[in-house]
Amino acid sequence: MSKHVVAMVREIPPGSRKLVTVRGRPIAVFNIKGEFYGLLNRCPHQGGPMCEGVLTGLIESDEPGTYQYSRAGEILRCPWHGWEFDVKTGQSYCDPEKISVRNYPVEVAPGQRVVQGPYVAETIPVTVEEEYVVVDV
């Protein structure tokens, strides 16, 4: 595993996402209310591009006629068949034990620290004034 600088923080404001490629892997980086999460851009079902999925909430029900809505904006639906995944962990709703989208740790690092290394910043010019999104791959 190594840490890769993929974007400036201000490029991915809350509620948005960016598709990046790290060590040949397409990774969708999401900003959920200021926290960053990285998922492989490939649904485990048939390979749909997760970065183009809709973020929605979790709807659950104890019996017909009732429902609870929670976790608004934290459930990612594949843009092809609509399978639901927890954007924070990559776990599927349909079979959480077995089916997940591969997830990658993402952190925010200040330019001051990035400049010192050992971060990999092949495509992003780094300055000490900025904050950066760093993916661990």
Binding site: R42, P44, H45, Q46, G47, G48, P49, E52, G53, V54, P79, W80, H81, G82, G90, Q91, K98, I99, S100, V101, R102
Partner: protein
């Protein structure tokens, strides 16, 4: 440690020249048909619009979370709905997957289930000209279906006669949710014309007839409806067989599109069982119902059934018959099957060639 389904071996090498038996092209607007419609019908379209045997024509039973029923990544960058831009369809489907031949099925503004019969016939003619000029003449990999107004057999036959012999058209298409079951004699002239011109009938689940899709009434949820189209297609297969359409026209070929697969063996078993006991009610059948299904019908894969144990799919496909199965993506629709990942079972080289290419060549006489 999570397990990804994609970590399992996928189906490699669709590069051998895949034939996709369900591709959806689309119009940017019904006005795309204007060049092919007489002024009277252009005016009619603008003044009265489409009139189908269904209430609430401004809506449909299909779900709204995938606009235009489509994958979210299939909206063309240059505008228009999914499937309306040839260049983008080539890039995202034909070139991307190395597709040798794509069978087009148009689902909207086809004229196939219009109540106004003359308008329906005019629309079908216009749609077929549009398919020919805008699609099949521009990319030889694409083959159209002659769309016909199924409830008006005379007009349907005229439409078949008009295009027969044009190799841009590989089949005849009509809606499947019809006023009567499709085996009834009012539809027979259409089958006779198709068989006479060596064209299969492609039956993509579609259309409105005012009845619920299920025989037990209207369902509440789209999750139900999406499955029930498969049940309606079972009734259709049963009708085509039991009414004697296939027995009477041994050269007729029928392709069932987008209605699932796993039900085919059990339907055949049950029909054969009934035939053994009640054969004298349907003496026009020379053999068990399954014999007609196994020699004159084909079934497209999408949406591919996904058994709990993926390997069980092999048994199902074997029961149906490896030679009966045609691969289809349903591009650009939301329940698209990816040629490289949808068939989650190991196939022999021969099986792979059959499903992805050779069966289609036989079914469509390509």
């Amino acid at each position: 440690m999570s397990q990804s389904l994609l970590d399992r071996p996928s189906v490699p090498g669709t590069r051998l020249g895949l034939i996709d038996c369900d591709v959806h092209h689309a119009m940017r607007s019904p006005r795309d048909l204007d060049p092919y419609l007489a002024q009277k019908w252009r005016d009619h379209l603008g003044t009265y619009g489409s009139r189908k045997p269904v209430p609430f024509t401004g809506t449909s039973p299909y779900f709204k979370s995938a606009p235009a029923l489509s994958r979210k990544d299939t909206w063309p960058p240059n505008g228009g709905p999914p499937g309306s831009d040839l260049a983008f369809l080539q890039e995202q489907l034909l070139d991307r997957y190395g597709i040798e031949c794509g069978m087009l099925h148009l689902l909207s503004m086809t004229g196939m289930d219009q109540r106004n019969q003359e308008f329906g016939a005019a629309l079908c003619r216009a749609v077929n000209h549009w398919q020919h000029e805008v699609w099949t003449q521009k990319d030889r990999r694409l083959k159209a279906a002659i769309v016909v107004p199924g409830e008006d057999a005379a007009a349907a036959v005229q439409e078949i006669e008009y295009w027969a012999g044009n190799r841009d058209f590989a089949q005849v298409s009509m809606v499947t949710h019809t006023i009567e079951p499709l085996g009834r004699r009012r539809y027979w002239p259409i089958y006779e014309a198709a068989a006479a011109h060596d064209l299969p009938i492609g039956l993509h689940t579609s259309g409105f007839n005012g009845h619920a899709v299920t025989p037990t009434g209207w369902s509440s949820y789209y999750a139900e409806e999406h499955h029930e189209v498969a049940i309606s297609q079972q009734a259709l297969v049963t009708s085509l067989v039991c009414e004697g359409v296939l027995a009477r026209l041994p050269s007729l070929r029928v392709v069932m599109v987008e209605c699932g697969l796993a039900w085919v063996p059990s339907l055949c078993w049950r029909l054969d069982q009934h035939w053994k006991r009640m054969r004298d009610e349907v003496p026009h059948l020379d053999g068990p119902p399954s014999s007609y299904v196994k020699s004159q019908m084909w079934f497209t894969t999408q949406p591919m059934d996904e058994p709990e144990r993926p390997a069980d799919l092999s048994k199902i496909l074997e029961w149906i018959g490896w030679d009966r199965i045609l691969f289809a993506t349903d591009y650009p629709h939301w329940d698209f099957d990816d040629p490289e990942t949808a068939v989650k079972v190991k196939l022999t080289e021969t099986q792979r060639r059959m499903i992805f290419r050779d069966n289609a060549r036989a079914a469509y006489n390509l």
